[in-house]
């Protein structure tokens, strides 16, 4: 059945209750429609009318379609490729190579949760949208996810999901507070104040304003509810295979973000949140590469922390991009003329592996880009900048107009930056591809040679003890003995390299 002629064994169907769950999700609008039409007909129509027959036919067609879809859909995982086949008339066969997987999410919509089912959402590099397996029973879905991720990291698929180190749980109170303390709420307050002011002048104008206020309130209410529903009980944990996130009120989502796939990290501090010392942390994963005129589309942004203290955000960021913070320098004073509204935030810096840039007018946005992920480096200079002897250097990452922006740097620094960033990016890319090649073969050929710790001097020899748990390639992870914030994992063993608050040191296990 499969396209390349090889025999695939182990085809499995989705859970038999899948059509029921799908149907139930479509049923709600149908019930509403039927209800409306019944009310509209009022009292003069009794018994079974032709309209009821139409509804009945619709329901039967829906059920038949659901069952047929379930019958013709099947999936198989052979340890290297996940195959999904579906479609009765037009057969659709999807082959997802494990090596290209970007993220695997476990989603449990409310109705599915009632039946103990879950949906697996698999995001592959270069694909337009995520691939779905809906629905599997929750344990099957969790098991398949663990197998996919283990294989992705070059481990045997029977290896169980490695343990994790919980980092933070966002309390619902703080989440609600953070959602309420926002620009839209401030807008509502202004709106109400305007309403009160107008009422004293003219009642008709006030009535009109009240109407639009209602629409506005419903709008922001929906937004608040959506964020609250999505981010409720946001739990983030660090594991060797990536960062694990669990969240959701009505439908729960459980995501694993592989650290290697992270293209950029952003820390966002809106004006009101700064009063409470809160910030938000997001990561960008690669999606669809740029196509034609429309440009790159599918950048996937995932929240690592919807709201939290700087301490937690710093910890998570260090796990993703490493503990060493490149020294930042401010834009020169004359940049105030070019960017009067954002000058107070403008700063940037880089080292051999990481670029960091701060921008923003009202909300402060700090963006970290690992240099091995940089797609291109650009230097842009407008007429005002030329007059002031300034230039902006962009470090582009996949997606639309995102990346680190070294805004308004002096021209000589910009010229030096573009060369330095290009050469550092080249070096970082080379190190990364060597590390990836070695870690890909490590599960087959045994322990790989030791790596030099990136970003600091001499790499220390690793202890010869075997790893306590199966893990992925080299990187900084939470210290397993909890003495320090992070410890370097060289691909086979923990090294004595440790880091606390960005300062590295040595402490053998």
């Amino acid at each position: 059945m499969s396209g390349d002629g090889t025999v695939v064994v182990g085809w499995q169907r989705l859970h038999p209750l899948s059509p029921v769950v799908r149907g139930a999700r479509g049923l709600v609008p149908l019930v509403v429609l039927v209800g409306f039409s019944t009310i509209n007909r009022g009292n003069h129509a009794h018994g079974v009318g032709p309209q009821d027959l139409v509804w009945l036919v619709l329901v039967v067609v829906g059920v038949v379609f659901g069952v047929v879809h379930w019958l013709v859909t099947r999936w198989a995982f052979d340890g290297a490729t996940l195959r999904i086949e579906t479609g009765l008339v037009r057969r659709d066969s999807q082959q997802l190579p494990v090596a290209r997987i970007q993220a695997v999410d476990l989603v449990e919509p409310f109705v599915a949760r009632v039946f103990g089912l879950a949906e697996l959402r698999i995001r592959v590099a270069g694909a337009k949208s995520a691939h779905h397996l809906s629905y599997l029973s929750a344990p099957v879905a969790a098991d398949l996810r663990a197998r996919l991720l283990a294989t992705h990291h070059g481990l045997d698929q029977s290896v169980p999901e490695p343990g994790e180190h919980p980092v933070a749980v966002v309390p619902p109170g703080r989440l609600l507070g953070s959602v309420l303390v926002s620009a839209s709420t401030a807008g509502a307050v202004v709106f109400v104040a305007a309403l009160i002011a107008v009422t004293t002048v003219s009642t008709t104008a006030a009535a009109a304003l009240a109407g639009s206020l209602l629409v506005y309130l419903v709008g922001i209410g929906q937004g608040i509810w959506r964020r609250f529903n999505e981010q409720y009980r946001f739990t983030v944990a660090v594991a060797p295979d990536g960062i694990r996130v669990r969240r959701g009120l009505l439908s729960t989502v459980s995501e694993t973000i592989p650290i290697r796939r992270v293209q950029a990290v952003r820390q966002i501090e809106p004006l009101w949140w700064r009063l409470f010392g809160w910030c938000r942390l997001e990561v960008d994963l690669a999606g669809v590469p740029g196509h034609g005129r429309t440009g790159g589309t599918g950048r996937v942004t995932k929240s690592l922390l919807p709201v939290g203290s700087h301490q937690t955000a710093d910890y998570l960021r260090r796990v993703v991009v490493g503990p060493i913070e490149p020294p930042r320098s401010r834009a020169p004073t004359r940049a105030r003329l070019k960017a009067p509204l954002s000058y107070h935030f403008l700063a940037a810096g880089h080292d051999e592996t990481l670029a960091v840039a701060v921008t923003g007018r009202v909300q402060k946005v700090t963006c970290w880009v690992p240099l091995d992920k940089a797609q291109s480096i650009r230097r842009v200079q407008g007429p005002v900048q030329r007059a002031l002897g300034l230039a902006t250097v962009h470090v582009d990452v996949p997606g639309r107009r995102v990346g680190a922006k070294f805004r308004d740097r002096p021209v000589d620094e910009a010229d030096r930056l573009i060369e330095e960033l290009a050469s550092h990016s080249r070096g970082a890319r080379r190190r990364e591809s060597v590390a990836a090649a070695v870690s890909a073969t490590s599960s087959v050929t045994g322990p790989p040679p030791t790596f030099e710790t990136p970003g600091q001097g001499g790499g220390a020899p690793p202890p010869s003890s075997p790893p306590a748990q199966p893990v992925m390639g080299p990187g900084w992870f939470a210290d397993p003995v909890r003495r320090h914030q992070a410890r370097y994992w060289n691909g086979t063993a923990w090294t004595p390299d440790i880091a606390d608050n960005g300062v590295t040191g040595l402490d053998p296990l």
Binding site: A125, R261, Q263, A286, P289, G290, H291, G292, G295, G296, T297, D372, K373, A374, Q375, S376, I377, R378, R379, V380, Q381, G382, P383, R386, H394, D396, V397, P398, G399, R400, R401, V402, G403, I418, A422, S425, R426, R429, E432, S433, A436
Partner: protein, 159 residues
């Protein structure tokens, strides 16, 4: 910064400038003819003359703009990356590592075809990457495409 005379930088083909000049000349001539005849019909001969001179001045301005833009555009093939520089008012310099290229695209519009020119565009995963080289002779375009594709394959890096 506005010239590509510095060593190593390849300027665009002079044929592109010819193409742009022809475009401007044709558009200016058509505009001058129509506005001039309307002005003559509605007003008088001096008004028509002033109109035609004004249109011609606009054409000269466009020529100056296009000329500078043409001179500012250039590219440099380095060992590990391609540099493309362009722009007069807003000057841009893009450095695209060969390993980051997703694909290379050659486009030829109808006017370009008339003059035997092609545009080569490099696509990376980032939409912001801005490496477009217009006005290449077909032979040079094909050579650049093949070279970029070969280098891209040799130095390819995962996302």
């Amino acid at each position: 910064m506005t010239n590509t005379a510095s060593p190593g930088w390849t300027p665009l083909s002079p044929t592109l400038m010819k193409m742009r000049v022809t475009e401007i000349a044709v558009i200016t001539a058509v505009l001058a003819a129509t506005t001039g005849s309307v002005a003559w019909a509605e007003g008088s001969a001096p008004v028509a003359l002033i109109t035609i001179v004004a249109v011609a001045l606009c054409g000269a301005g466009a020529w100056w703009f296009v000329h500078n833009r043409f001179r500012a555009w250039g590219y440099l093939e380095r060992a590990e990356d391609l540099e493309v520089r362009r722009g007069v008012m807003v000057q841009r310099l893009s450095v695209v590592p060969y390993g980051r290229m997703q694909f290379v695209e050659i486009t030829t519009g109808p006017v370009e075809r008339l003059f035997g020119l092609a545009t080569v565009k490099l696509h990376t995963a980032a939409a912001a990457s801005d490496a477009r080289i217009p006005g290449l002779e077909p032979v040079e375009a094909a050579r650049l495409r093949d070279r970029l594709a070969a280098l891209g394959e040799a130095k390819a890096a995962g996302l």
